[in-house]
Every structure is written in C-alpha cells, then in structure tokens.
Symmetry: C2
Subunit: 392 residues, 2 copies
C-alpha cells in the first residue's frame, strides 16, 4: 500500500490480502482491511519481561535438505516478521523484520485456537461449562446441523463428526465459505452464509462424533459461540476479561469480526510479539503467570498429553510422538512440547524441559510449507541445546 | 449488537449504523464496522489533566423554547455519550453515558476537519506547503477535475468553486457517493468511485474559486491528499507524528480507511473524550501544550478570525458574529470562540476569554438539530458564567 493512491496492482484488497506479496504488509495491518474488535489489555501494570539477550543468529542446525543452516539464515529464508525466545523466563532474543516493531499487532491465524481453548479451560474451571455436555446445552440451534450430539470435549480435540473441508484456496471448500462468512473476503453471493454463526449451521455430520482427530478450523468457531452463550459476553471482551487483561500484556489486541459482530475465534487474533510470548510463558509455567494461577494447572498439563492413536496422517509422519489436545499441537507427548500453529508461518513453541518459549511470526508465501515448519522446529531444538549449554 | 447472534432487526450494518438507534452503539464501535488505521499515541508520557471537579448538572440556562433547563437535563435530552469541561486547564466536569468510558474511542465526524486543518498549519510552518499555491502543485491529477486552479487557502476556508452536494441522507447527493467511496457504506454500484481519491476526481467546478464559504466535507479530503503528497506519509501516521503523539494523549486514536487505504480526513476520526479535550486545550493555549509549541501561534490566532462577509445563510442567522476559518467554526470573531463540530452532536468548544474548553460527544437521532446545537451553546455559556463567578 505505497503511494497516494496506491497503484491498482499494488493495492491490498479483500481478495488478495493473505497472498504473497500482499500478506507481508497485511498481516501487520489487519485492522485496515477488516473490521476488528478490541481485546483490551486492561489497566493493570505490564508484567515485565527481563532481558538476557544474546546473539543466537549463528546457531547452526541441519536443515531437512541436509544443509548446515544458521538461525539467521532460517529467519531470512522463512519470511520472518518477528522472532522471540524466552529462556528461563528471560528474553534471549527479540528480533523484528519487514517493518514490524514491538508495538505492531501481527495476525497469528490459528494460534487463536489455542487462545480460545485456554479460555474454555478457564470457563470450565469456573463451572460455567461442562466438558462432557453436548454443545446443544449452550447453543440449542446446533441440533439443526451436524453438531447435534457432539460434546465440548470432542470439539476441543477436533474429533466431532462434522464435515468441514479445509482445502486452502479451493473456491468450493468449506474453509472458503467460512472466509466469506467471516468478512475475510467479500461475500460473492448473497445466498452464502453472511456470518460465522450462519455458516456453522449449514455443516452436516459425515461420521460418528468422537472419532479420529481431523483438523477443522470451524470447531474453534463453535467453541467461540458456546463461550458467548455460557458467559453472556462477546468473545473479544471475554478473552480480555478472562485472560488477556490478566497476563500483564503491553498492548490491547484485536479480533477480526464478521457482519454479525462475531469474532473469528479460529484465526482472527492480532497481538504483539512480546505479548504472544507472555501467553506462551504462562503455559510453560503451568498456568501461573503475572503473580497468579491464570489457567488451571490441570488444564495446562493435559494440553501436553493427547491420544496418539487418533493422530493420523499426515501429522503422524511429521511428528511421530505427536498429538492434538485442546487446541494445542503436541510435538512430543513424552517431552510435553506444545505448539500453537497458524498458516503462513505463525508459531508459539513451548518446551517446559528446556525452559524455553519461542514465538515466530511470519508471512510465508504459502498457507503451508512443510520444510519451513520442520526447519523452524530444528532451529528451535538447536537453540534450546545451545542455551542449555550456556554458550553460543 | 446484543445476542449471539444479534437478531436481524438489531444488527448494526453498513446501511444503518449512523442512524438511530444504531448510532448509539456504533459511534463507540466504529472499528467493528469499518476498517480503521491507528493514529498512534507514541510512547511519551501522558500529559496529565488536573482535576477540579464540581457538580455543574444544576446550572440553569434558558433553552430556545424559553424553558429554564438544567445542564443535566440538556445532557440527557441531547443523547450525550461524553461531556467534559476544562476550566483554567483543569477538569471541572467529566461525565460518561450510554456505556462510554474514559478509554472509549468515539467517532467525532467533522471534528476531524479541525484536526486535519491543524496538521496543515503545522506542515505549512515546516515549509512543506505554501498556502497560496495551487493544489495541483502537490496533486497534479486535480487538474482534471473542478479543483484545477484552486489554492490551499481557498480549500482551508471551504471557498473553492467545486460542486459537492452535501444533503445528508439523499441517495444521489455527492455526500452519499463519498460515503460509499470511503467505505462507510457498501458500494452499491461497481461503477461508482471506490475510493475517496477517485471520488474527488469526479467533482466539477460550478463557480469561481475564492467565493463565499460553502460547507463541503470533501474539501478536507482534498487537504488530506495534499498532505500525503507533501509529506510522503499516510495520513494516520502523519497526524500521529505531527500532532497526536505530541499532545500527551492517553489512547491511540484511529481513522476509518477506504479500499485504497486512505483515511477519511473529513470525518473518520475516533478518540477518547479526554484526548479531544487535550486537543482543544492546545488551541486555547495558542498552540502551546504539553511543554512546547505544538501548533504555530499565528495559525491558532488566525483560526479565531475569519471573513464574516462570506459567511452566508443559514449560518449567519445562527451565529451572527460567526465565520469559518481554516476548518474551525468561529462562533464569535470578537470573542474568538471557536468550535469543531460534527454531525449527530459532536463538539469541541474553545473560549479563550472564559478559559474554558468543552467537549460533547453525542449520538443525536439526526444529522443536524438546530435546537440541540443552540441549547448546547447556551448551556456552555451558562457554565462559563458560573465558573467565572467561582460558585455553583
């Protein structure tokens, strides 16, 4: 978006904004493209992040191609906008690229799912939700679609039997209909659902509830709806009150909202690099952060487990000890390493044994890139090893 | 926007948002309806507003109907959301209604014009703009529309000869085309201009430049374009750098932006009640505020003058000593009382002799309401008199 006005070829629109090269600008300017609602930081003091910075750019790891690669090379090659490492709770590295600053809110795509899952855990702990209860207890309308009979627990682990085709960029896929419904694209057809609520109600059941894990973004949007009904609060306000305002974050965050005012729970969250790190550190510390137990400890510990037997391909090949649990990717259930992941290269990585949290915000040219993902994980493992030794 | 989802009848949309009763919600939630860009507060300290609060609700004035009315009655009758009085630089009254809080950004409609005019004054003072130069020096494209030959000074005083019909709510009026172009409405027709830049270029000349004052919002949008070209900065960033971040405001503000990323200079600004008051106080103090000269003193003083002879009806009847000068309404050129005014009841009122700044943010049911406006002015005069006496 350079020039007054920008030339038509350079213009970032609702049709191109998440595609390269436009996403390099748009992921830091989401509010300029899509209506957004505040997730207030509240008026409490900032929870400081102590600094213990060191240069980790020279740390070397073996890329999936076999090539010896430095962390600095990885960051450049994978379109990094922000990169932060917390080791033993202190900032070991904090880097910004592509115009990003410590104040910039960056879209984190499906990282939002882990955030929403967390709020579900808090609200369950408060007794406002029962994880074993059918979703229709909170949202009776769901009886008219494929979610009839599904429980909160099943949706938390993405194990309902509802059909939701998530083929990114495919015009007919449910994910594309969701993009139009959520306001992420112009709605090309007035007959299509015009809000996320309406879209959910169109989805059929295609297998029994409680089967294998199947990644479907909309399951988190269903959670958002359930949360709103259980608490009587709009989701951005709820996330602020139950979590964001308690983390001692620096900046008010935001969610994109659709034409019915609903936040896109599955991927519309925007926050700063340092504030994502605070959220990760709260998980690393078993939910205790900023002076109190923000997330129930049992919930956090459970998010490091998960049923490997329902974790099918292609995920099992990528992370053989992996699982998916309560909106977190478990990289390794033995080590309890968890990840919040979003398309185009968003990641919060939490390794309790290494006492390390990493946040990487990126704008890959593609929704998914297996090499970028695996190389990023290898880099983080190498960084963890170097920090454990206490030497670069 | 109550309920999950809100019922269709309750839903605030791009078609109804500024109409009653929807505007009572939307003017405090503009970012949830329209894309917005940040006007950063920067990272400097807040310029404190000392408190000297007293109850002014019982102050009585004579309404235009002849009825004795209290300030409290006026505030309730005129759909007030926020009301603040600074007297001798201290907060004499600060009141919130209709869910507004000290942190809430409230749309101020054409108050934005006075803000943009101020930035023009600063940029002229820096030597980047010449007030006597034709607009085409900065934006050559304007030679292809009615703005050919018009100068910056003429546009500042709304005295160009360009046709712009400002009949609020009339589907065919230029103001309605501007609403669609600016993203304030859905664009019903792909053939209509899709950005404010494009809309400006469609406007013809209908009389000589430099004639009588004629209120036309688009003249401020032209200033916005000129400012961008003169400085090479997008307008929200420019307003932040030159003004907002220097005022010691509490909150980052915002502008609505159109599909080309352009801020709506004529009316898309949102800020908190207290921060509007800081802006007003800077004018009261001849541009010196927060420890330095933020706006050139000569500019501020000039904004209290104006050529009464070009100030025609209906304005002259409403304010017989009135004028319009550099995007400020001069209520009384003898007393130097100036006002920034916006439709649906937005006002910053600056009376240097009474040492009083008032801010009133409202959501009237109508664009314009002469009784509401005149009664508000009478109430402020009564408040000024009471404060001058030092007694309620």
């Amino acid at each position: 978006m350079q020039g007054f006005p920008p030339s038509p070829a350079q213009r970032v629109t609702l049709e191109n904004w998440d595609r390269p090269p436009f996403n390099r600008w748009s992921f830091q300017h989401v509010r300029e493209l899509i209506p957004t609602a505040e997730v207030g930081r509240g008026c409490g003091p900032i929870c400081p992040l102590e600094s213990a910075e060191r240069d980790l750019g020279g740390v070397v790891f073996e890329a999936v191609t076999g090539r010896a690669t430095t962390v600095a090379e990885l960051l450049a090659e994978t379109y990094t906008d922000g990169f932060l490492i917390l080791h033993e709770g202190r900032v070991a590295t904090e880097l910004y690229f592509n115009g990003m600053t410590p104040e910039t809110l960056h879209l984190s795509q499906s990282v939002a799912k882990s955030l929403i899952g967390t709020v579900v855990g808090i609200v369950i702990d408060e007794g406002l939700l029962d994880p074993r209860a059918p979703l229709t207890d909170q949202v009776p309308e769901l009886a008219g679609c494929g979610y009839k009979g599904a429980t909160l627990d099943q949706v938390l682990d993405m194990r309902s039997g509802v059909r939701f085709t998530e083929d990114y960029g495919q015009p007919g896929a449910d994910i594309s209909r969701l993009e139009a419904a959520s306001g992420w694209r112009s709605n090309p057809d007035p007959a299509l659902p015009d809000s996320v609520y309406d879209l959910i109600l169109t989805l059929p059941q295609e297998r029994a509830h409680g089967g294998a894990f199947q990644y479907r973004s909309v399951e988190t949007d269903v959670l958002g709806w359930v949360l709103e009904r259980a608490t009587g609060m709009r989701l951005p306000e709820l996330v602020s009150q139950k979590l964001w305002s308690r983390l001692g974050v620096e900046q008010t965050a935001s969610f994109t909202v659709d034409r019915a005012g609903a936040a896109l729970a599955d991927g519309g969250f925007n926050a700063t690099l340092r504030d994502y790190a605070r959220f990760g550190q709260a998980y690393l510390q078993n939910g205790f952060f900023n002076g109190r137990q923000l997330v129930p400890e049992a919930w956090v510990r459970s998010c490091r487990t998960g049923d490997r037997s329902v974790f099918g391909e292609p995920y099992r090949s990528q992370t053989p000890n992996g699982a998916y649990r309560r909106k977190w990717w478990v990289k390794d259930t033995d080590r309890g390493v968890t990840m919040a992941l979003g398309v185009f290269g968003q990641m919060i990585y939490i390794d309790p044994i290494a006492d390390l949290v990493a946040v990487k915000l990126s704008t890959w040219p593609d929704y998914l890139n297996l090499d970028f993902k695996l190389n990023s994980l290898r880099a983080l493992e190498a960084i963890a090893a170097v920090l454990a030794e206490g030497a670069t």
